[in-house]
C-alpha cells in the first residue's frame, strides 16, 4: 500500500524551512527519501532504518518513528536548488521493493 505524503505542495521563499511527512499503515524496515527535478530521474537523499533514527547532511535532515510508521524530511534555510518533487519510498522488509508516496512538490522562490 502506498505511503501517504503531506503536504502535496509547498511554496517557500529562500531561507524558509519546510517539513514533509510520510506515513505508512504497515510496519516498515526502512524509509528512503528522493528528490526529482523536472525531466530528471529521482536522486537518493537518505535512508532511515527501523530502530528509530535521525539523519542529516547539510541543511536537509530526516527522522523515522518506527512505532508510528512515520518519517519526516526537514529542509532548513531552503535554497533555490531545493525545488523539485520529494518522494518517500518505504520498504517493509530488507531487500524488498520500494513503494513510493504520492510526492510533495516544493518550489523555492527568490
Amino acid at each position: 500500500q502506498q505511503p501517504v505524503q503531506s503536504p502535496q505542495a509547498v511554496i517557500l521563499r529562500e531561507g524558509e524551512d519546510a517539513v514533509i511527512n510520510c506515513s505508512s499503515s504497515k510496519a516498515l524496515y526502512s524509509v528512503h527519501w528522493y528528490r526529482q527535478k523536472h525531466g530528471e530521474a529521482p536522486v537518493f537523499l537518505m535512508i532511515l532504518l527501523k530502530g528509530g533514527e535521525q539523519k542529516g547532511h547539510d541543511k536537509i535532515s530526516a527522522s523515522f518513528n518506527e512505532k508510528k510508521q512515520q518519517s519526516s524530511l526537514y529542509l532548513t534555510a531552503s535554497q533555490l536548488s531545493y525545488s523539485g518533487t520529494y518522494f518517500c519510498g518505504t520498504e517493509q522488509l530488507a531487500g524488498n521493493m520500494l513503494t513510493f508516496g504520492g510526492g510533495t512538490r516544493l518550489m523555492v522562490k527568490p
Binding site: 537518493f44 519510498g89 530488507a94 531487500g95 510526492g103
Partner: protein, 119 residues
C-alpha cells in the same frame, strides 16, 4: 553509486507497435526494478528482474504486455507491447546501490528514464 545508461531517452510510437527499453549498469547487481511514472505522478513498480529467473510482476502488470529480459547481472530490457495511448508515460529502471546492504546506507539509483508517447 552505480551508473545506469538507459536507452532510448524518448520515443514516439504508433499504437499497436512495441518498444524495447534497455538499461545497462556499470556494476553487477542482483535485482533490477522497472517503474512507470505518469507525468506529475508517483513511481509505480512494474516488475522486479532477477538474473536467471522470470521477472516478478506487480498487480496490474502482466508479462505479455511488459516482457522483461535479464540476460546477465548488468543488463535488462523492458518491452512495452501492443501499445495504446494509455501506455504513454515515463519508464525508469532502477538498481540498489551495489555497496548495500552492509552497511545499508545507500539507496537506489535510477536510469534517466524513457519518455514514451503513443499516438
Amino acid at each position: 553509486s552505480a551508473v545506469i545508461s538507459q536507452k532510448p531517452s524518448r520515443d514516439i510510437c504508433q499504437r499497436g507497435t512495441s518498444l524495447t527499453i534497455q538499461c545497462q549498469v556499470d556494476s553487477q547487481v542482483t535485482m533490477m526494478f522497472w517503474y512507470r511514472q505518469q507525468p506529475g505522478q508517483s513511481l509505480t513498480l512494474i516488475a522486479t528482474a532477477n538474473q536467471g529467473s522470470e521477472a516478478t510482476y506487480e498487480s496490474g502488470f502482466v508479462i505479455d504486455k511488459f516482457p522483461i529480459s535479464r540476460p546477465n547481472l548488468t543488463f535488462s530490457t523492458l518491452t512495452v507491447s501492443n501499445m495504446s495511448p494509455e501506455d504513454s508515460s515515463i519508464y525508469l529502471c532502477s538498481v540498489e546501490d551495489p555497496r548495500s546492504p552492509v552497511p545499508r546506507n545507500y539507496g537506489y539509483t535510477f536510469g534517466s528514464g524513457t519518455r514514451l508517447t503513443v499516438v
